[in-house]
């Protein structure tokens, strides 16, 4: 076969999958893709977790730029195709790009259906279809208020849960009497409605929208019965319409979708169609599994002659709302020939219904306990007679064959090789086992890369790991990528979930994120305590027992169990009075050593723990407060004498350093933060190895950041130059806040910036004045709770128990021997 030109209109999941199959089978195609969106191929199934904040866009990209480059694909982004010339075999885009094809694939997907009620064009009315919609919803959610979601189906409910997670009040309007009536029977729909209402989502079934109110911006929704619901956002999630316009104009056969044969060819033999726009055997599809089947069939035909054919199969439905478990497959209507087996457990909120016809499973609806969904689906597909196990069928697979133990691996081991493990991608157990054996796969990431199993919505991850465990035996050690042994979640996931789920205490995090230990460990507890403190300023109460001893007693523990005490010296400036008070404290408490630190202040070493409050009191009385030399927080702001004294000084570096320190002291951060302000580029204050440094120049202040001079040595990166001290302070606060919100515990600013990218930090903090301001304001807000001198708190009696022994024995006149009551 000579080289062929393949042109694809659309860059969604179906054509992406088709290309993967095609490249495996053939390297004879030069591929050109026209994409109306400006993005690479991403996983639309996962928009809901992006909306709720549980995932980021980067997490859901399927094909990155490198993939297109490595396959020599020409990708025209933001180029909507406006015409197909079937005679000349060319397509032309809005931007005027024309491409010739030997084979053409139309994958234009679908458009969301917008109900044409009055007001449907107002600003604030969005669909729920692509990343732009999600971003619009997130922007609206940031302003708070109420969202009305029209449509109580799969998409609508995921949108509602996501918006609720983003902090909006949410009302769901559904025309039908129960939710998700196409996938759930009324009983399961009722349980689902109760669950959602329990989460604070208002559900109105049988609600018919009359009009959307507002002049230019949405202000509310009016129902047919006259009810008016105030709203600042309306999400239409009532369904999709295959996007057939282009095919229709090109004269192809069009029904509800673009009509194709079971070989995915349209009425023109050189043109294929796959995805939501295609209609096969009178059916159009919206769930991903059949679309991927279309992709596979089309790829096979493109690669050469084949008898591959698309066949209809029931696709199970799951709702991707964290914590809501439901599964439905097949048919569940009422009919004389249909028989039901039902199990309800109201207390556990469980509902199971299996629908039989002639002693064969034709459908299943599970709510709450969905573990057996796959097994019922397998029985449905195999059409086996279930008469022999009818009495125990509803209890699930574990109760067949003499009640196998509740070993999850046993259930997986019992599955046949053609049992479907990954519904999204249509991957069976046998395919996974073969890939593991043939390709020597050992990690979940590899299995996902090679088979796609669990690579889409991820709900089958546990099953895939089970198959791996069975296949690899003891050599399969589930990779611990978590922040510690207590969880498999990494720091980034935990931070996102704390915000997304509104978790506000350490026990809540451990419960909701399924910690494996009962009370955490010395690694995760301080991290969680910091994340909660940072994310919920003014609400979260610091857990002292989850802090490392230095932060608990506000001094640095030394090798012999004594402590060192460092009072703050603003910008490294001190006075004779302060020095005199320090000298008196040293004498009074017999403090063995006094040292000048690298951060321009004085360290008192060898203080006994029980003396700490008295030492602090004397220092407090002389006007000094804690230097936080022990904290994951602002340590020092090092300065030189600047224009006040130095003949080279260009600005008042000392004064600016003092202002910065007085503004930022007390803030808790993922790791320590050190600043410096130097009065000229000679850099006496060593600003170029600090977390944030300021280099004064004649024209203003150059800001640098991301330096390190510890185990790792790294010079700073320039952020930019500003004209005023106020701008320096705003930027330092904003950058610190961004780091506070994104940093992983114990990750210094340079590591955080390496991870998120210096360009990102610059664009968010330096270039975008609005986002800079927002971060700065959040920093200022949290400072009002942080700027409390921990020394004076403890001098006044807080945590007194920390510093005194509970009991003292062994003194000469000790006669306290006592017997405990039995």
């Amino acid at each position: 076969m000579s080289r062929q030109r393949l042109v694809i209109i659309g860059n969604g999941m179906a054509p992406g999958r088709m290309l993967e199959h095609l490249f495996e089978a053939s390297d004879q195609f030069d591929v050109t893709i026209f994409n109306a969106e400006s993005r690479v191929n991403y996983d639309r199934i996962m928009l809901s977790p992006v909306l709720s904040g549980e995932k980021s866009f980067d997490d859901i990209v399927i094909h990155d730029d490198a993939w297109y480059a490595s396959h020599g694909i020409t990708l025209h982004r933001g180029q909507k195709v406006v015409s197909i010339d079937r005679d000349a075999q060319t397509v032309t885009s809005e931007g005027g790009i024309t491409a010739a094809y030997d084979k053409l694939v139309i994958a234009t997907g679908s458009n969301p259906f917008i109900i044409p009620v009055p007001g449907h064009k107002l600003s604030g009315v969005v669909a729920y279809r692509d990343l732009d919609d999600v971003q619009a919803m997130k922007r609206a959610a940031a302003l708070g208020g109420r969202a009305v979601v029209i449509g109580g189906g799969l998409l609508g409910l995921e949108a509602a849960a996501g918006l609720k997670a983003q902090g909006m009040e949410v009302t769901v309007l559904h025309l039908m009497p129960t939710l998700m009536e196409r996938q759930l029977d009324p009983a399961a729909g009722y349980l689902l409605q109760k669950e959602l209402e329990g989460r604070g989502i208002e559900v109105r079934c049988g609600a018919n929208t009359k009009q959307i109110l507002g002049d230019t911006q949405v202000e509310g929704v009016e129902l047919e019965d006259g009810t008016v619901i105030e709203a600042s956002l309306v999400v239409m999630a009532v369904g999709i319409r295959p996007n057939v316009q282009l095919a229709q104009e090109a004269g192809l056969d069009v029904g509800r979708g673009i009509v194709t044969g079971t070989d995915m060819k349209t009425s023109d033999a050189n043109i294929y169609s796959v995805g939501e726009c295609a209609e096969v055997d009178g059916r159009v599809y919206g769930l991903v599994a059949p679309l991927y089947t279309m992709a596979k069939v089309a790829a096979a035909h493109l690669a050469g002659a084949t008898d591959a054919a698309f066949a209809h199969a029931e696709t199970p439905t799951k709702l991707k709302v964290t914590g809501v478990n439901l599964y439905s497959v097949g048919e569940f209507g009422d009919g004389p020939e249909l028989e039901d087996v039902v199990l309800r457990d109201a207390k556990r909120g469980t509902y199971k219904r299996v629908i039989l016809k002639d002693n064969k499973v034709v459908g299943a609806v599970l709510y709450g306990d969905v573990a057996d969904g796959m097994w019922y689906n397998e029985l449905l597909k195999s059409a086996d007679c279930v008469e022999a196990m009818r009495e125990t069928l509803i209890f699930g697979q574990a109760h067949q064959g003499g009640g196998a133990a509740a070993d999850p691996l046993a259930a997986i081991s019992n599955l046949s090789d053609d049992a479907e493990i990954c519904g999204c991608n249509g991957i069976c157990k046998g395919q996974i086992v073969n890939a593991i054996k043939d390709k020597g796969l050992t990690s979940l990431a590899e299995v996902r890369a090679h088979t796609k199993a669990s690579a889409s919505c991820g709900t089958c991850t546990g099953l895939v790991e089970g198959v791996m465990a069975l296949t690899l035996g003891d050599t399969f050690a589930k990779k611990a990528e978590g922040m510690c042994g207590c969880t498999d979640l990494g720091h980034g996931d935990v931070r996102r979930l704390i915000v997304a789920k509104g978790l506000k205490s350490i026990p809540a995090v451990m419960q909701e994120l399924e910690w494996k230990s009962s009370g955490g460990c010395a690694k995760c507890r301080p991290a969680l305590n910091y994340y909660l403190l940072s994310d919920w300023p003014g609400e979260y109460v610091d857990d002292q027992q989850s802090r490392f001893i230095n932060e608990r007693v506000h001094a640095n523990i030394q090798k012999d169990g004594t402590y060192s005490v460092v009072p703050r010296m603003w910008g490294g400036m001190t006075t004779s009075d302060e020095l005199r008070a320090i000298a008196d404290v040293v004498d009074k408490f017999n403090i063995p050593d006094v040292k000048v630190t690298g951060g321009q202040r004085i360290d008192l070493l060898g203080v006994k723990k029980e003396d700490l409050p008295a030492v602090w009191k004397d220092l407090n009385d002389a006007g000094m407060i804690s230097g936080h030399a022990y904290s994951k927080g602002l340590r020092t702001v090092k300065t030189c004498v600047g224009s006040t004294w130095c003949r080279f000084g260009t600005q008042d570096s000392t004064g600016l350093g003092i202002k910065l320190e007085k503004f930022m002291w007390g803030s808790w951060t993922p790791a320590k933060v050190k600043l410096a302000v130097t009065g000229c580029p000679r850099n006496c204050a060593e600003a170029t190895c600090k977390d944030i440094g300021v280099i004064c120049v004649d024209s203003g202040y150059q800001i640098v950041y991301g330096g390190a001079a510890g185990l790792h040595i790294q010079g700073t990166t320039e952020l930019g130059t500003v004209k005023t001290e106020d701008e320096v302070i705003e930027i330092a606060g904003a950058m610190t806040q961004m780091y506070r919100e994104q940093g992983f515990y114990l990750e210094r600013i340079y590591k955080w910036a390496d991870r998120v990218g210096y360009d990102t930090v610059k664009s968010v903090i330096f270039d975008d004045l609005e986002s800079r301001r927002a971060y700065y304001e959040r920093f200022v807000y949290s400072q009002q709770f942080a700027q409390v001198d921990p020394w004076s708190e403890r001098v006044s009696g807080v945590d007194k128990h920390e510093f005194n022994p509970m009991a003292v024995f062994g003194l000469p006149n000790d006669t306290t021997v006592q017997e405990p009551a039995e």
Partner: protein, 114 residues
């Protein structure tokens, strides 16, 4: 209540109540030159160890208490509260002291357990 009891294996002392120790925290009891750390877990169990890590004598009373263990503040050794033995790859053992609860009162035996 006489001095002769101190020569037996039993030297019980009332040291205070559970409420004197923060949950997941510790307090010290001084006995002459020896310091004993008394720990309270999240589920209100009480344990007592000599306040010395078997590694470099770090004060265990200053560590983070979690899951029946304490992590030493100096070099992060993890010590079992019940037995005083180092967990994981580290080897060593700290003396432990018997503790009894009577209601919310804590009695400590100043003679280390076996």
């Amino acid at each position: 209540m006489n001095a002769s009891v101190q020569n037996t294996d039993l030297d019980w002392r009332l040291i205070g109540t559970i409420d004197d120790i923060p949950a997941q925290g510790a307090r010290c009891v001084k006995n002459g030159e020896t310091t004993i750390a008394v720990f309270r877990t999240a589920d209100d169990r009480i344990f007592a160890l000599e306040d010395k890590c078997p590694h470099r004598n770090g004060p265990l009373s200053q560590g983070i208490v979690h899951d029946g263990c304490v992590t030493c503040p100096l070099h992060n050794w993890v010590i079992s509260l019940e037995t005083g033995t180092a967990q994981g790859a580290d080897e060593g053992r700290t003396a432990s002291f018997p503790v009894r609860l009577s209601g919310r009162d804590i009695y400590l035996n100043l003679k280390p357990g076996a």
